[in-house]
Every structure is written in C-alpha cells, then in structure tokens.
C-alpha cells in the first residue's frame, strides 16, 4: 500500500474566504452508494445539491462491490419467494451479530425500513427478480435475488432468530451488481439536476461563528490544482468512504486488521471524510473493527471440512459466514489449516476464490497429521472426536449444523489458511464518525455538530463487527444511511 500523503484537515474559518466560488443548499462529499442516495433524497426534499468526487466518475467502493443489499423484515422479494421474515427477527439478528456495539436505534430503523428501502430502489429502476439462489455461496452469479449472506442458519444465531435469506442480489448475471447499481443511482442523481463535480478532492471543511457555535458551512475543494470554496446553505454530507487505504490510520486505529492481507475498496478510501470530521471535533467510534474474510466457499463442499489451529484444535463451526471465519482466524494460534476429504475438495481449484495452497495430503489420517507437523497426536484426537460426533449428526464442540456434518474420510487434503501464506484475506474498515440515526455528526460529548452529516463507511452504521458481518450490510447501510443524511441535511435550513 502506498502511504497516504499527510494532509492538513484543519477547518477553514468562513471569514477567511475572500470569495465563494459556488453555493448550494447541500454539499455532498463522495459519489459512491451513500453519496448518491444522499443526493437523491436531498434533491427530492427540495434542496439544491452539489456532489463531489475525487475520482473521474461516480462509483466509489459500491461500484466495486457485488452490491447485494442486506434487507429484511419482509421485503417484497422475500414475500414473493415465500419467506415470512419479520422486523423482529431482522432486528434481533443484527443486534446479536453486532453486539455489544450495535446501535439499537440505527438497527431498529434499518430493520423497520428495509422493505421500504427495497421499494425505493426499485422505484429508481434497480431490478430485483422474485427468486432465490438456494446455495451456500459468496454471491449469486446468476440473476437470482435472495441469498443467505450471513450466519443466520448457523450457531449461535439459528436457535435465537428465525432465519431468512436477506441478501438481495440485483437482477444481473455474474458479479455485476455494483456497476449496475451505481449506473442507475447516478442516472437518478443527474435526472434531479444535481450538480456533479468530479476530479475534485474535498480538502477541508469551512466553519463559521466563534466560541460556542462552529456550524459547518462549506467545503474547500481542490479542482484543477486550485482551491475552490463551496458554500453550503444547509449542510455538508460526508460520504467519502472508510480508511482501509490509509496505512497510518490503520496502524493507529485498527492494527489487528492488518493481520489480514488485502485491503479492499477504492483508492480514495483514505479516511479523508473521517479526518475532516475529526478536525471539527467529531467523535470517531468502532475504529478498531473491520470486515475480514476467508472466502473458502465455493465450493460449498469445503464446509464439510474442519478448520484447526496451530494446536490442532477446532475453533469454529465451519458453516458460518466466511467473514466470521476470517475474523476469528486473526486471533488464533497460527498456522491454520482447513482439513477436508479429497471428495469434498472437489472442484476447489477451478471455482474457489481462496487461493490457499495445499499444505499436505494424506492417504490416511495419520499421514496427514505427520505431514502437517502439529503437536503429536493433537490433530488425530481432534479428527477422532469430530468423526465420532459427526457420525451421530452432532457437533457438541463447535455446533456445526447437521447438514454439514459427516466424518472426515481419507484421503484428506489440508489447505493452508494461515494469513500471509497465499490465502486471500480481504479486509475493510467498519469504524467512523458517530452519527444520529438521521446522519447528524456527533462530537465527543454526544452533541450534534451543526451543519455536518455523514453516511456510508465514513460514518459508523449498522455493521459493526467482523465476526458478525453479513454480505450486503455495507451497501445496504450505505444506501440507507445516505438517504437519511441527505434528507436531514436538506431540511436543516427549513427548521433553523
């Protein structure tokens, strides 16, 4: 990773601005999923809007993602397919999987508003098929919609909350949801007459007033090598992504995340929005947390295998979401191996994203154990215990669902899932600016900073834990929180 050049995010006092270049009711920094939705809602609330992006086009990290949306509570697709998902089950699952730092108010709004949010996206032309992709998979590569993208069917959640698939995949073949979603959102933004200002990097917030009140009233933007001064009559919305591309911020705030190997996001996920907010006193929360994945399925049959640590012991039910596996691996005694039968290894080499090299193979369990060089007898004991339980359809140790339980039979393969040895360990950040459910940025004392809003990964929203993450909860949360922030920013002027 390139080091991010040290920038000066200190706010500029408005009376230092000799001439304003341009003004609008709402200024939005960042044209990814959150910024686009903020712009649409702000415009639909009657505000004039300017949206900036440092890149030469709209998209942000949303365009790079699969753009599943994690939505529940009985969406139109869930109902059409036959799932009676409830708001309470959605709320309960999201609270439990993001505990203890879940924000009850945000999760409540998200669970209650999920079905409407899908309809809103559909009203913008975003296509969702009334169908399900009924496999254990990282993503649906068909144009089918519903997919289980979390650990709803796995222990410890399966006994607590009625499971339902909540990942909503766009109706498009292949892994092309992100580009399509952003193309449609961009069209909706432009249709509304929002001024789109690209290749323009927001540098600093502009504040006015003295002493007690420092309302945010504008943004300094670098365009064509020059600083321009944009005035916000009502509010500024920061939707500038997370900080996974900023190694200094990672070192300071999320050192453990870097045990994973590949930061994912767009190159402008440098935390600039977070830093601009911090420079006016915003509270940053959950900064140590991130999404980490060990994408070990497909093939789904690898789920029949067992993951063992450097002591030869299991540490997880292998039927959970890949992000829970990846997150827990960071804290284990390394090395970490996935041991699976050759039968279930199946078409790993052609369909897997994992890239984990083979650590050992064995015609017998004993041979594999010797080759892996784990503490003598440890792996044998683990496999014996697992096989005995699995034969009875039980896993008292790690609680893998009986659907994924069967004794391991030789010949066996062990994949090396130790971070840094070839397996794909992507990660991104889940910390950011603390906001109200409406996107107002809070200071360290919990009070709103007038005129400042944030959404998407610049803020800290619904997804808060790597071990509880579900695919689609970032794009879902970004688009949802962007809408709240855009609406709130547009309305500030009216109520002031």
């Amino acid at each position: 990773m390139q080091p991010v050049p040290c920038m000066d995010f200190k706010p500029l006092q408005a009376d230092q601005v000799s001439a304003w270049d341009r003004a609008a009711d709402v200024l939005i920094v960042g044209f990814g999923g959150a910024g686009a939705c903020a712009a649409i809602e702000a415009a639909d609330s009657g505000a004039s809007v300017i949206i900036f992006d440092a890149a030469s086009g709209a998209g942000g990290s949303t365009a790079l993602s699969s753009a599943e949306l994690y939505l529940g509570g009985g969406t139109s697709v869930q109902q059409a397919v036959g799932y009676d998902d409830t708001i309470e089950a959605t709320y309960g699952y999201l609270m439990a999987s993001n505990a203890p730092q879940a924000d009850p108010e945000k999760v409540r709004a998200y669970a209650e508003g999920g079905a409407d949010h899908l309809e809103w996206l559909k009203s913008l032309g975003v296509p969702f098929k009334h169908s399900e992709y009924p496999h254990r998979a990282m993503m649906a590569l068909t144009d089918d919609c519903l997919l289980y993208t979390g650990s709803e069917k796995a222990w410890p959640y399966r006994d607590q909350f009625e499971a339902a698939p909540r990942g909503h995949n766009l109706e498009v073949e292949g892994d092309n949801g992100g580009p399509l979603l952003m193309q449609l959102l961009e069209a909706a933004v432009r249709e509304r007459g929002v001024a789109v200002v690209l290749e323009s990097r927001a540098l600093r917030l502009i504040v006015e007033g003295r002493d007690d009140a420092l309302p945010v009233c504008g943004v300094v933007v670098r365009q064509d090598g020059e600083e321009r001064y944009y005035r916000a009559e009502r509010g500024v919305v920061l939707c500038a992504g997370g900080f996974v591309m900023n190694s200094d911020m990672l070192n300071k705030h999320a050192p453990k995340l870097q045990r994973a190997t590949i930061p994912i996001g767009n190159p402008n996920d440098t935390g600039a929005g977070i830093q601009m907010a911090a420079a006016v006193g915003a509270r940053l929360i959950n900064m140590d947390e991130g999404f980490v994945s060990l994408p070990f399925y497909p093939p789904a049959s690898l789920t029949f295998g067992i993951l063992v640590d450097g002591n030869g012991q299991r540490f997880i039910n292998e039927d959970v979401y890949h992000g829970r596996v990846g997150t827990l691996i960071l804290d284990q005694t390394w090395p970490v191996y996935l041991v699976v039968s050759v039968d279930d290894y199946a078409d790993y080499e052609t369909v897997s994203y994992l890239g984990a090299p083979i650590a050992a193979t064995g015609e017998t369990i004993e041979e594999l154990c010797v080759e892996l060089g784990l503490p003598e007898g440890a792996l044998e004991t683990t496999i014996e215990t697992f096989n005995t339980s699995a034969a009875q359809g039980e896993d008292p140790q790690c609680h893998k669902h009986s659907d994924w339980l069967k004794p391991l039979t030789a010949p066996l393969v062990a994949l090396d899932c130790t971070p840094g040895r070839g397996a794909f360990f992507p990660y991104f950040t889940l910390g950011g600016v603390d906001t109200t459910v409406n996107g107002a940025v809070l200071n360290e004392a919990g009070e709103p900073i007038p005129g400042l809003y944030a959404a998407g990964r610049t803020a800290c929203g619904v997804p808060r834990r790597g071990d509880g993450y579900a695919s689609g909860s970032s794009v879902g949360d970004a688009t949802f929180s962007g809408r709240q922030a855009g609406r709130a920013a547009a309305q500030t002027g009216d109520t002031a």
Copy 2:
C-alpha cells in the same frame, strides 16, 4: 454508575477572553501520578507551573492503586537482588504483550529509561527495598520490592524473552503504595513552588490564532462556581485520567469492557481530558481496550485448577497474569468455572479477593460434572485429557508451566467465574489521546497540536491491551510519560 453530565468541551477562542485570571508557563490538568511528575519536571526545567485538580486533594487514581511500578532493563533493585534483566528483554516482552498496537518508540524509551526512572523516584524519597516477594500474588503485602506482575514466566512469553520480576513495590507494609507515592510526589511538587489549585475543574481549552494554527494557550477552569481563565505561556498538559467512570464514552468506545463488572479509578476518570483534546482535533486511539481482571490468586494454589468455558473446554494456561484471564473470559462462551481440588481451594475463603461463589462440589469428578450441567461428557473429557498430560508434567493444549501442573483429584470444587455472578471483575480504560514519545498531542493526520500535551491514562502509552497487561504498567507509564510531557511543555517556549 452515575451518568456523567453532558459537558461542552468546545474550545474557547482566546480573543473571547476579556481578562485572564492568571498565567504560568505550563498548566497541568490533573494531580495524579502523571500530573505530579509533569509538574516536577516542568518546574525543574525552569517553567512556572500551575496544577489543577477537580478533587479537593492530590492523588487521582494513582493514590487508589497499589502503585507498583513496572520497570525493567536492570534497575538498581533488580541488580541488587540478582536479576540480570536487560533492556532488550523488557522491550521485547512489552512489545509482544501489547502487540499489535504497541508503540515501538514509547516502549523503547520506557525500556531504556526504566532504571533511570526508578533512580529519579528514589531521589524524590520514594523508598524501594532491595528485596523480592517471591510468590505468585496480586501484590506484595509486605514491604518487599520485586514481584512478577505480568505473564513473563508463562506461555507464550516464557520461551521468547528472559523473564525477570519488574513490578517494583514501595517499601511500605500492606496495600499502601499508592497513598505513599502520591504523598511523596505531592511534597516534591509543592517544594518546587508549583501553584496547586484544587477543587477546580478544567472545562475547556483556550485556543488562539485562526485558520491553520490553533495553538492551545490556556484553560477555562470552574472555581467556586465561576469560570476562570488561565493562560499558558508554553503549554497545557492534560493528565486527567481515563474514562472508566463515563458510561456514555464506555458505550461508544469500549462497549465490550462493560462485560466486566466494576469500573475502578477515581470518580473524575470521566474522560474530560480526552474530550477537551478531542474538541481541538486530537486523535483518540485504542479506545476499545481496557484492563480487565479476574483476581483469582491468592491463594496461588488455585493456579493448579483449570478454567473451563460453557462447553466444558479449557481456553487458557491458568498460570498467566490475572488480567489476561479476565480479558479472555469476556470472549468465552459463558458460564466459566474454575475447577480445583479441595486441597488447593485451601484458604480461598479468607485470603481471596475474588468473591466467586461455589457453583458445585463433587466427591468424584462425575458428580461435579453432573452438578455443573455442562454438555454431557465434555468436562469429563477435558479433565481426563488434562490429568493424563499433567501427570507427565506437560500441557500440550494450553501450555501451563509444569510448576503448576498436577492431575485434578477429587474431592473437587468449581467456582463460578462468570461475569455478573458475584466474582470481582474490575476494569479500567487503556485508550486515549495519541501522543509523541514526548507527550505532544497529535491530530488525526498525525501532526502535533501546538501547545497541547497529555500523559497518563488521558494519553495512550505503553500498556495497550487487556490480555497483555502487567500490574504496574499504568503507574509506571503515568509517572514516566508525565515527566516527558512536563519537560516538553516547559521547553516549548524556549524553542519557539
């Protein structure tokens, strides 16, 4: 815990101050261990100094502590007692036990400066006996000095770094090190003509300048119900403790810590120093981390027992420092039991701080297992495995040292160590303001905020992890970092 009243920490612009009440070169907020040492060094650097505390006397949380100091690298006491501790071993242990978020520069300075720091304290009259308290204990209740206060002799550290006792207990009987240390430091402060201003709560920083530079130049202090304006000619040093007494900050920054039960510190550990710094753009780091303890020894003989989780499995080598045990328990599947023979239960009821109730007793292993109601057969298997290994003086599963290994023999007792069921689980925070090794406060972009310094638990220093904590590293770090910050603040005026 009482909710902390919401305060407004926004800085005041200097030109809003109509009249300054008083001025000094260096203003120090907080008269605990860090503030006292900052005051002494600032005064010895030739600065005029005012030190404030919200309480009616000096002391802070240091006075409430045992005031061991974790110092290594070959202190005079270590040498006199016969330990050849090295700077490299001290550095290595502190880096490893605080990884990955350890600050190499701070740990280096602390390891290299430990021996001198002890001499400096001795020069102020702080007494240390040339002796060792050679037992596994929470603290020395005698006037002996050296004590192992971390996990130096336990896996995984014992194989990596030469162990040495680095806890330095003051020469005083009973748990009275804290009051004595603060009494001596306060005397040294007053001897130097430092102005001590008590019952005075620092409310907000005062900043001057516009645009790029916002140097901190003073403090608003509430005294006798009125706001007073103190000017700092050279710098302000925040030594106002951590935030364990602020439930809002805990909820936002360290939600998991509250799985422990008893916040420890002084009532003014409300994060006010951290919030004042944040309001001028300071970077807050490591905010999710804290010290957590399960003080299960004395009696040391409980170390012969095994800790098991709700699945009846062990999860730790029980010979580690009590803070590592406490921290790991927060993440286990609850309940958590300590299973020990009645012989080793010994004088638990009279000497323990733990307060854990008896969950079950058993004349046989089977009886105990049934009574505890863990998954059928799980605890039996765990004890069998442990006993077989222990009989051979080995613990391949959790690596407890052979000194603490022997098979568990009936009759047995199980203590309930589940948080919330009676066992004493104290905690405090380890996150704070990011600073340079000299105590200069950094903003989110990593640049120093002119005129602002921090030390002790307001800053983020050497101890950074609950699972790697060692007793004495907070008082050691507070007194050490206070000195650096006091010196740096005093010198700013000279070099400007």
